[in-house]
Amino acid sequence: MKLKRRKRAPEEIRCGNEMLARLEGGCLKVSGRLTVGEAPAFTTELLRCYRAKPGRSLYLDLGDLETIDSAGVMALYYIRKKIEEKGGSLELKNVPGSIADKIRLFYPQEDMHVPLPARTGWLELTGERVHRFFAGYVFSFILLAANVFYWGLTDIFKKKVRRKGEFVHQSVLIGVNAVLIVVFLTFVIGYVIALHSAGQLRTFGANIFVVDLVVFSIMSQMGPLITAILVAGRSGSSIAAEIATMKVTAELDALKTMGLNPLRFVVVPKLYACMFTMPFLIVFANVAGITGGALASSVYLDITPEIFINRMRDIMMTKDLYTALVKSQVYAGLIVLTGSFYGLRVERGAEGVGRMTTMAVVVSITLVILADSILGVIFY
């Protein structure tokens, strides 16, 4: 609804084509309806006129007013409040019975009084955040890890505490379903690594060293890391979302009150599944990556698969396999723990589930990369 703008203080207030109020004998006569549709124009226009000549008393004649709703009543209250702030006053005249009834029903007994949350200084805020980071995140994460690993160790041979078939089900979800994407991506990465190094190595006539480059980079870095990042994106998010939803819908509380430990029942099977399938995924990733590299070497550097395999045999060490195994277990633990940690921290329903899922993915990928660097230094 457009307001009609006038330069002079007007003698009538309109809302579209409908007249809302007219000045008659020093008294503003309001007519027709004053509901949520008319209240915006009425309020803004009246206050605009009043601002031109503040400090006066205003008389509103409601004799011709047919309908009013809560928005209309509150508009009158709001106008009176604004006028009184400017030192004037507002009086209602000729109020019909039905209108008076509504005004009595809706007119506030006391002024709006909402205590605002107290503000904290920057020093206090910083301290609070640091404390929250250590107590709420670091310490809780360590506590959760201790709990989960404790139950993980003690429950390995107790089949009764898990749902039947849960381990296989989770292994399929976390491991088997991820095989295709892991194999495809590492194959492409292996191919591209060999392709990019081909040009450089050819210049120095060091073609054969492409095998060293591909095998080392895939086995010790790319294979485990890409696998972990993909699993964190696929399964870390779904673990967080599942646990968060269970918490929001009070399923975790239900488990607790049935005497079942939610960690043992929900988190531990996922940890087993992830730790069990991750080494296999990494082996698949390594094979696919090296195959990709071998393909690129034979296309661009004329290194036949036979030469590639022979050279590979000379440079590959058993240590690489052990390293990959250790890495896989660390990554699996980090991914499951981060997913469940954020899932368990959910607040505020649907919005919280989304936020925690995002956080779980971001943090688990960060932690995986950090762990990769630390392990890289250790197993150098």
Binding site: A75, F106, M112, V114, R348
Partner: protein, 255 residues
């Protein structure tokens, strides 16, 4: 004098797959009255309720709300109709990412051009009506079950709709809060002339607020009429339902 019908249902059938939930349901609700839809669990109350709100498409029969046939409405007309209806859900259905005040202000902020200061005042007043003004800045997750319901009611009535739908408003409330909620509903009806349609099980509530009762039994309307007639109905399901009230205490209350 012929009373104005706010809701009219004629020959409504509804089915999910093979199971027929509503069979030939017909009833009317009138302006300025509280109409209570009653029935045991699984009698089709919720399905009927969702048909009235146009959340389920009408496959067979006629549903008229405020004089308009809901199955022939275009989207714009449907939105216009929604502006004239307030809906109160059993769970509250408040948006968790907004504060209570923002939740209540949402329809006003979206559908009117009121200045923000005035919207705050209206929201504060409506929250005051449901005795919840102290929860202005709180988030729904910080409220108790009863407070959630009151906040949801404030949101449903913030636009002063002529027609209010309530799905089990009393479920989970203590008797004192329930009575104040009932008083509020009666107040809305009497002083604002609001027409109200309620699905509820609370027997004490029905006695306090109902003008008219529609009793669903297994998808069929077993009784439709004024409350007093319902209390003396000889339909077995209706009789059984109200037998609770025939205890001495309740008879005294009825006078």
């Amino acid at each position: 004098m012929q009373k104005e019908k706010v809701v009219e249902v004629k020959g409504l059938y509804a089915a999910f797959g093979q199971s027929v939930v509503l069979r030939d349901v017909s009833f009317s609700a009138y302006k300025g009255e509280v109409t209570v839809i009653l029935g045991g669990s699984g009698s089709g109350k919720t399905t009927l309720f969702n048909h009235l709100l146009s959340l389920y498409p009408v496959s067979m029969g006629l549903v008229k709300v405020l004089g308009r046939n809901v199955s022939t409405l275009r989207e714009v007309e449907q939105v216009e109709l929604y502006h004239q209806m307030g809906v109160f859900y059993q769970s509250g259905a408040l948006l968790n990412s907004l504060t209570v005040a923002e939740n209540v202000a949402l329809p006003l902020a979206q559908h009117s051009e009121l200045p923000p200061g005035l919207i705050d005042e209206i929201v504060y007043m409506k929250l005051g009506l449901v005795n919840l003004s102290h929860a202005f800045h709180l988030y729904p997750s910080e409220l108790s079950g009863g407070m959630l319901k009151r906040a949801a009611l404030a949101r449903a009535i913030v636009m002063d709709p002529p027609l209010l739908f309530c799905d089990e408003p009393g479920a989970g409330l203590d008797p004192v809060s329930l009575e104040s909620l009932d008083n509020l509903i009666v107040n809305l009806k009497e002083r604002l002339g609001m027409s109200i349609i309620i699905v509820t099980h609370e027997v004490s509530s029905i006695l306090r607020i109902a003008n008219r009762v529609v009793f669903l039994d297994n998808g069929v309307v077993a009784f439709e009429g004024p409350l007093k007639e319902a209390l003396h109905s000889d339909h077995p399901a209706v009789e059984e339902f109200f037998s609770v009230m025939k205890s001495d205490n309740m008879r005294e209350l009825l006078g």
